[in-house]
């Protein structure tokens, strides 16, 4: 039996000889220039073994890739690792794996996962990959001939490749690691359950473990190790903020360059989890909110954002141009920025700002910079009628008044009676005379009074953008708080939209803003409104600020959301804010139920008069008018891709009315005119639309049917209906029904010529992609045709559906 000089061959056996021999071979292998080949050769055999092992089903998927640059374990190269020995440090994993497979009797296998926290059972699959070095060390400890540099002996000066000292050191580390706590294998389960002692040890150890013979004792090189469980517990009790802060920085640095700096065996999610916990501890956030923030911001920004929230924003004022001028006021103050003509920043003052005679005389108002933006976006004109739905404490309302120079009328509303007192006080102090202050719940709005030229909705929100003002938000906001806020905001926004008069000569705009940065309260609500009402987003006129998201995690929003604006404390030095500006292009309310839109469309005849006096919504306009309007609307709708449904709806309504055939002609004219003006929502020129006219019963049921085709059909229908007789309308009706399907939620296919009472419901207006969804229409009226329940399948265009099962799927966005 000759000893084969096969470095890859693993020496087995408990004896020293095995170790010795192994050592020699590994040593040789290390020197061999063709190490690569050998490695490969070794790998091949090893690879086979490894594969076998893997097939056995590694318990813990070792995620650690054999990453090449693994600094941490350079020194871990086991001496004479059987088989995988002298590979480049990068191949430690492989080696370890090999070793793992071989070394069942690793002395201290577990420790290998100190960093990696791999499962340590001697199952090969465990750690090996990550703790490769460690493992190999351990396993080799028994088997490798370290030439005396046993675990016991530290300095063995026998001439080994690695300096004996190095090797010994490695061994010692391995032993220490072993001696240390046995790291729990499942690192994923237990976050960092490493023993505390581990980290400090691993730290210095790592230092020594730079590659091969190079010992670097530089702390910066020390790769960051996720702390262990024990350490975590200690942190929980007595958080050492310094250490946590350092760790935060370390983790951010690691994550920035994850491929090279990661710790073997640790997944990215572990690092992130650790970071989340540390940030929450350091900045006193609740876990939920911090998780949300981590979704929103990239890591570098996240830390900046959190830092910015600890510091209050500079105090800013707005000069009240009704009483004074900015330059008169600004003796010691700086202008706020070129975007504001009336803003001033106060950096310090010897007297309380709220107590100066100028303040008392109403020359300025203390207002955050971000609160000036929505009013600038709203751009109120003189002699307009404006509604401010959530006005307290009155800063925005007074700004609106000063921009309007006390002309026109402002209705300032708030649902909170105590805060209304401050509104009254502020408005009186600032000399605002054109305001009515009311105490309604904003959701009641179009009922009380509607027909405003512009509406400002500063919706109540979770306040995550103004954490610097109210630190309690860090911890007391929860998932359900956010969702509750979002729900309320959606309702308010729909009411606000309904209160705007789309046919206003100078207006038709709505600004929705919140002081929150959560997507659920901002983009999601705006997207919801786009689907539910005839509005579209327009540029806010603010040329700075970050654009709103068009997609976020699993959600996708309408592309026009890019025109919304987000502001952050750390980038703009103002409170977190979100602003969206809508233009309402049609007063009718799209409904999933058919007929509603027709019902709600004001009669053309009434339009001219009604135009600017929207307050009561006339209902039950005459049919012809309605039909005309419907037709026009329909056309507009079609052209506006957003709300095709309405068009079709209207068409149907008109048709179903089956009244004048001449009307279509009339409407055609109007339509044509309207279409010409479609693009600018000033189409209303022709018709003053009632904000709500649901009374007219109309029920059209439609099933979502063909998508594009139908739309085209619908379009054609309109053309067809022009100047045609009633037959055409009828025909088109059925067709439109089909056509409308895609755009729209189900509408009961009407018995086309029948007007049905349609209950005005919240319209659901799915986007085309959602066309397939069924809507549950609950038409009321003589015929309750059930909406056909069609799930995503497209029902064939039905000319007339007498009865359809009511779809229960309510498309809600």
């Amino acid at each position: 039996m000759g000893r084969k000089l096969d470095p890859a061959k693993e020496k087995r056996g408990p004896g020293r000889k095995a170790r010795k021999q192994k050592g020699a071979e590994t040593e040789v292998a290390r020197f061999l220039p063709a190490a690569g080949d050998e490695s490969s050769k070794r790998l091949s055999s090893r690879a086979r073994k490894r594969a076998a092992k893997r097939r056995l089903g590694s318990a813990e998927a070792l995620e650690m890739p054999k990453f090449p640059g693994a600094k941490p374990f350079p020194g871990k190269l086991p001496k004479g690792v059987s088989g995988g020995a002298v590979q480049t440090p990068g191949k430690k994993g492989a080696q370890s794996l090999l070793r793992a497979s071989q070394g069942k009797k690793r002395p201290a296998p577990t420790h290998s996962s100190e960093e990696e926290e791999e499962e340590d059972d001697s199952e090969e699959d465990d750690v090996v990959n990550q703790g490769g070095l460690w493992d190999s060390e351990d396993s080799d400890a028994d088997m490798i001939d370290d030439y005396g540099a046993d675990s016991t002996s530290e300095d063995d000066d026998e001439g080994e490749e690695l300096l004996p000292i190095e090797r010994a050191a490695r061994k010692q580390k391995a032993q220490e690691a072993v001696a240390g706590s046995q790291w729990s294998e499942e690192e994923t389960e237990e976050e960092e359950e490493e023993a505390e002692e581990e980290s400090p040890e691993s730290g210095p150890q790592k230092n020594d473990e730079t590659d091969g013979g190079l010992q670097i004792n530089v702390d910066e090189e020390e790769p960051f190790v996720l702390p262990s469980a024990g350490e975590m517990e200690q942190d929980a009790q007595t958080p050492d903020l310094q250490r946590i802060h350092k760790r935060i920085q370390d983790i951010v640095a690691v994550l920035r360059d994850f491929g090279t700096q990661r710790e073997e065996g640790r997944s990215r999610s572990e690092y992130l989890h650790r970071l989340q916990k540390d940030l929450a501890t350091y900045y006193s956030y609740g876990d939920f909110l911090l998780g949300k923030l981590m979704d929103l911001f990239p890591l570098s920004e996240l830390v900046e954002f959190l830092e910015a929230n600890e510091v209050p924003r500079p105090i800013t004022l707005r000069t009240n141009t009704l009483k004074t001028r900015r330059r008169d006021l600004a003796q010691n103050l700086d202008p706020l920025g070129k975007w504001s003509k009336t803003g001033l920043v106060v950096y310090d003052s010897s007297v309380p700002i709220g107590a100066t005679p100028e303040y008392l005389a109403g020359h300025y108002m203390l207002q955050g910079a971000s609160s000036m933006l929505p009013v600038m976006a709203l751009a109120p004109q003189e002699h307009e009628r404006i509604l401010d739905m959530c006005c307290a404490p009155g800063g925005k309302t007074s700004y609106i008044a000063q921009l309007m120079k006390n002309t026109g009328v402002i209705l300032a509303n708030d649902a909170n009676a105590e805060r209304l007192k401050s509104v009254v006080g502020n408005l009186h102090r600032l000399g605002v005379t054109n305001t009515i202050i009311s105490h309604y719940d904003g959701r009641q709005f179009p009922k009380v009074v509607g027909g405003f030229d512009r509406v400002l909705l500063d919706a109540p929100c979770s306040g995550t953008g103004v954490i610097s003002k109210d630190p309690a938000v860090k911890t007391n906001k929860d998932e359900k708080d956010i969702l509750r806020c979002a729900h309320l905001q959606k309702e308010l926004l729909l009411s606000a939209i309904d209160s705007v008069n789309a046919t206003s000569k100078t207006g038709g705009y709505l600004v929705y803003c919140t002081c929150s940065i959560m997507v659920e309260e901002n983009e999601w609500v705006v997207d919801y409104a786009l689907k539910k009402r005839n509005v579209r987003l327009v540029p806010t006129g603010l040329d700075f600020g970050q654009e709103g998201f068009t997609r976020f995690r699993e959600r996708r929003f309408h592309p026009t959301l890019r025109s919304t604006r987000r502001f952050y404390p750390h980038t703009h030095n103002m409170d977190g804010f979100f602003i969206a500006k809508f233009k309402k292009f049609s007063n009718s309310i799209p409904q999933s139920q058919t007929g509603n839109s027709a019902a709600s469309t004001p009669t053309n005849l009434d339009l001219p008069e009604v135009k600017d006096q929207m307050t009561p919504k006339p209902k039950g306009s005459s049919h012809p008018a309605k039909k005309a309007r419907v037709a026009v609307k329909a056309k507009q709708q079609l052209q506006k891709r957003q709300h095709p449904k309405k068009a079709s709806f209207q068409k149907q309504n008109g048709i179903s009315k089956g009244t004048d055939s001449s009307l279509p002609t009339v409407s055609c004219d109007t339509k044509s005119q309207a279409s010409s003006k479609l693009q600018d929502s000033s189409q209303p020129a022709q018709k003053a639309e009632v904000i709500r006219g649901p009374k007219v019963p109309r029920k059209l049921k439609q099933q979502s049917a063909m998508p594009q085709a139908s739309k085209k059909v619908g379009f054609r229908k309109q053309n067809a209906s022009r100047g045609t007789d009633t037959e055409v309308p009828v025909l088109s009706l059925s067709k439109t029904q089909a056509a409308l399907k895609p755009e729209d939620c189900d509408q009961p296919l009407g018995n086309s010529k029948r007007a049905e009472k349609v209950k005005q419901q919240l319209p659901e207006q799915p986007f085309k992609k959602a066309a397939f969804r069924k809507h549950n229409g609950t038409p009321k009226g003589p015929e309750t045709s059930t909406v056909s329940l069609l799930s995503s399948s497209r029902p064939p265009p039905a000319k007339r559906r007498k009865s359809q099962s009511r779809g229960s799927s309510h498309l809600s966005s």
């Binding site: 105090i315 800013t316 709220g354 107590a355 005679p357 100028e358 008392l360 005389a361 108002m365 203390l366 207002q367 955050g368 609160s371 009628r385 307290a392 404490p393 009155g394 800063g395 925005k396 026109g408 009328v409 209705l411 105590e418 805060r419 209304l420 007192k421 401050s422 509104v423 009254v424 006080g425 502020n426 408005l427 009186h428 102090r429 000399g431 005379t433 054109n434 305001t435 009515i436 202050i437 009311s438 105490h439 309604y440 009380v448 009074v449 307050t615």
Partner: protein, 185 residues
């Protein structure tokens, strides 16, 4: 919200006339429209007609304020003028008093003003006359009633006059700002 009754109108006008005299008519007939007084919850509001029209839609219990509040009627039906009316009284005031900067703060914090604090005063101001107080920069600060003022023999100089005491009637003070935290919005 309702218009004022005759009696109420009379009481209120009397009070206002103390400060602006016969200029009261100017308050009602203004070049930019007709303004009226309306009573709501015992407070008198001064609004233009355009606003009135919209405000009519709001139910009484939900209406909090409209236009400018001039003052309120007490339980015994006396009329108390509020500081919020200052903006309308100031331009039409018949008797004005200017106070020195030093006395300004004191006045704003609710104290009476002594003669030494007066800078200027309109001539022929009698005792117990309602005056409007200005700062030296012509910023109206409040209204007063002149308590004790003896016209000097020479008629002009303060130096010869005896003590003048102004009783502060109302002013924009921190207490007068209606309750509610001043939120920077």
């Amino acid at each position: 919200m309702r218009p004022l009754t005759e009696e109420e109108t009379r009481v209120m006008f009397e009070k206002i006339a103390k400060y602006i005299g016969e200029n009261l008519q100017l308050l009602v007939d203004r070049p930019d429209g007709t303004y009226c007084f309306r009573l709501h919850n015992d407070r008198v509001y001064y609004v233009s007609e355009k606003i009135l029209k919209l405000a009519a839609n709001i139910s009484g219990d939900k209406l909090v304020s409209l236009g400018t509040c001039f003052g309120k009627f007490t339980k015994t039906h006396k009329f108390r003028l509020h500081i919020t009316a200052l903006d309308y009284l100031a331009p039409y005031a018949k008797y004005k008093v200017w106070i020195k900067p030093g006395a300004e703060q004191s006045f704003l914090y609710g104290n009476h003003v002594l003669k030494s604090g007066l800078g200027r005063i309109t001539e022929n101001t009698c005792q117990y006359q309602g005056v409007v107080v200005y700062s030296m920069a012509d910023v109206p600060l409040g209204t007063h009633i002149l308590l004790r003022y003896k016209r000097p023999e020479t008629g002009n100089s303060f130096a010869n006059s005896s003590q003048v005491q102004l009783k502060k009637k109302s002013a924009y003070t921190l207490e007068n700002i209606l309750p509610g935290k001043i939120w920077p919005s």
